[in-house]
Subunit: 334 residues, 2 copies
């Protein structure tokens, strides 16, 4: 049971699979067309078409945003600012491009404090990465705090990674967002609630002016034809997406209750995963769960995540089996 | 008839489509695994596994190579060197990353001259891009010339884009290549002979040391699961690939003969396309062909390609229809 990468444990909507199976040899052989996919994504997000840049998973979006922010090569080594712990692709992309990643350590509650971030701004800060809900804790960040942050980090970009927002509902993508926050870039992925991780489909949302240099980093045929065909169908199957979001919400409550019953520390997650501080040796717990067929993510190597594992909250029936294994393993590890 | 993007006009091997149709909802939902695909690619190219970096189409490989070459941000704006005319992604990637693209104009025969390139080297040159066979002329570059170039451009990287090498046979990937040319990066794509353009699958081949900083630019889940599943099957179906290469070779001879009969200038192509200098207004010819259902590529806007269109040489039956239309349209345009 794959509970280590925050995938959709049910896979994609059956309607998506039907669509993919109807594709033919020329769809494999020809470069893709994105018109229908872009329309569906813009419409689904409620944003204008020119605010949308499809990316080969959100990872490519993070790279494109960093590359665009670092494009000006005059002056010192450019910096990106973020929090720790965080999704590792921010730092990977920033350093791969020769930039410097500056991070602010979150406290025990994983609270994002505007003043801590602004205190770390320098004239070299080009982009600020924040994930909402936070990964790996799942804690939601108040939107008002992000709006303040967008204002205070200007002229740097504020990149808000909303990879898990389908499970929290707290999106910055509301009418007027880009008038109030012209330096905002919102990242979304279809890997989670929509279950398209294997097809690689993400999107950046920003004003056309902010997107333009990012568009040049993303190759003209970045998404594959299967992702392009899947997106309109996945977005249209709202019932499937809503069903899965409900499953994940129920599952995270089950997981959270279970680990609290076991006397373990966890945090209020708004995402499709929960972070748990286990007792004793983390790798022993991870291996013991793996031996029972349950893969979880060892996050204990990161500052602020000492002793922690992250568990995906997916289909409820799977979670119930996972809870039984957790009780067995983590109870023994106390 | 799509003869404008040098795709495989027959699409992928039927065996590839069978494999793709057998994939299920969890293949869509889960992040891909690349072990089988990497093994098949390394084995197919006859190179060690640690010399291979799979990329989301070769476009991503070009971006990754440029980003790695430009990673050091000390000193002046970094430069990439290439020829003109050329595939536009080199300049797009280089400038998107804040670098400068320096180009050497080819002569009327599209002859790559080592001394012209070395004369354009500066202390800021980090990478040199060459396509073999050349795009858009199809002219092959003697391998000995590339070996000399690799030596002379050191410490810059020599990126040899072998996108069309399946049709020419003249690859630099022979035993001992990287001992002789440690600064060599070879790019390959599965979009052409293998007909996987819609799936996006390319590869960079270089020493592990040269690949390492490029690997950091390519996200860990860059190829989609469909491309990963297709690659071993496409590579194993050697008969299909060889059949298609034969079709393309016959087609390029048919196209070349036809345009020469029409008294038009063309160049000896070793690729799956031919460049033709038409008479009169290029866009009129392109439109007239499009009206007959034949899409060709207008390359006339590039220095050295004045008056030229590029036509894909694919399945012979398609080419015969295309030749009839070309005779009608281009004869009238004389």
């Amino acid at each position: 049971m794959r509970l280590h990468l925050n995938e959709n444990t049910a896979g994609c909507s059956p309607a998506v699979l039907d669509t993919l199976r109807a594709l033919g040899r020329s769809d494999v052989g020809f470069y893709p067309d994105y018109d229908a996919a872009r329309d569906a994504v813009a419409d689904g997000l409620g944003v204008p078409l020119d605010h949308v840049l499809l990316t080969n998973g959100l990872d490519e979006g993070i790279l494109a945003a960093a590359a665009a922010a670092f494009r000006d090569r005059s002056g010192d080594v450019p910096e990106a600012l973020g929090v720790a712990p965080a999704f590792d692709m921010y730092e990977t992309c920033v350093t791969a491009l020769g930039g410097r990643m500056v991070t602010v350590q979150l406290d025990e509650e994983f609270t994002l404090r505007v003043e801590d971030l602004t205190a770390a701004l320098t004239p070299r800060t080009r982009i600020v990465f924040v994930t909402n809900p936070h990964n790996p804790s799942g804690c939601p960040v108040p939107l008002e705090r992000l709006r303040t942050l967008a204002r205070l980090v200007t002229p740097a970009l504020l990149f808000v990674d909303e990879a898990y927002v389908d499970f929290s509902g707290g999106t910055l993508l509301t009418p007027g967002a880009f008038s109030a926050m012209p330096n905002l870039v919102v990242g979304r992925t279809f890997s989670k609630a929509y279950g398209l991780a294997g097809l690689r489909a993400g999107v950046l949302v920003a004003t056309p002016g902010v997107l333009a240099p990012m568009t040049r980093v993303v190759p003209p045929y970045s998404l594959n034809a299967w992702a392009a065909a899947a997106l309109p169908v996945a977005i249209a199957d709202r019932r499937y997406r809503d069903w899965y979001v409900d499953q994940a919400k129920t599952s995270r409550a089950l997981l959270s209750d279970a680990v609290q019953r076991l006397g373990l520390r966890t945090w209020p997650s708004a995402a499709n995963f929960v972070l748990v501080r286990v007792k004793g040796d983390v790798s022993t717990s991870v291996s013991a769960l793996a031996a029972r067929g349950i893969l979880v993510r060892d996050r204990s190597g990161e500052a602020g995540c000492e002793g922690c594992i992250r568990i995906t909250a997916g289909v409820v029936a799977d979670t119930e089996r996972a809870v039984a294994a957790l009780e067995e393993v983590l109870c023994g590890a106390r």
